[in-house]
Symmetry: C2
Subunit: 154 residues, 2 copies
Amino acid sequence: MKNEFMSRAIDLSIESVNKGTGPFGAVIVKDNKIISEGFNTVTSTNDPTSHAEISAIRNACKNLNNFSLKGYELYTTCEPCSMCLSAVYWARIDKIYYANTRSDAQKIDFDDSFIYEELKKNIKERKIPMIQMMRNEALIAFELWDKKTDKVKY
Amino acid sequence: MKNEFMSRAIDLSIESVNKGTGPFGAVIVKDNKIISEGFNTVTSTNDPTSHAEISAIRNACKNLNNFSLKGYELYTTCEPCSMCLSAVYWARIDKIYYANTRSDAQKIDFDDSFIYEELKKNIKERKIPMIQMMRNEALIAFELWDKKTDKVKY
């Protein structure tokens, strides 16, 4: 069954290339059934966050009417980039099956490895400058959230 | 002007708490003008990727009909989580202004710090298991992409 799910993700990645978008596909599975699919649509939808995994997560959550994918598994044709891996954590997915690596992605000019390295650095050492300001004012919303008794935690 | 942009992001974060969603707001700016806004809608839209920064990026790209935000700046009420910071890199944003830190977010029970630490680890040491399979089959799409002469790179 696992091969079948990854094969479907691979089919999506090939379709994606044929459509002119990035060579990545993903599916989300529970109880031996695919419940959502995704492929890279960054350039076709003008959405830099629309990687295969993020698309599959969004589709799954929409289908399930739930922001949690606890109990679900992700099959993706490439090791998730740092954006998609973080999204997997936020979505509470249980397990990831992947095929190509970030190093394979680097060889065809995708920035996965570069961004992973940037994230490890201290704020002041990164290529994109990050400047702190107005923390005191911004803390107000955090305090409001902290005191809120009827909030939906995630 | 900078204070004005961050103030707007803070207003969005407070509005977000009042709406019952996470205490985060963000705006994207060019030429001293806000061109898009976003706030956290994870629980209201059942989308675990719908953080303030990702929403602001998606809205900006949609408004501009472009997947690149080169030349734009992000103002966000909290240091971006690893998902959002990676999205900033993918979107090619020039500069980030932020207010609260990942440590402030941790204090009100958000997983930003935890996920940053997970990403630094080797694959086998992470809490979410990651299992490689079918790399040879998946490489086909990468080769197709590599040979494609009319692709839109990003």
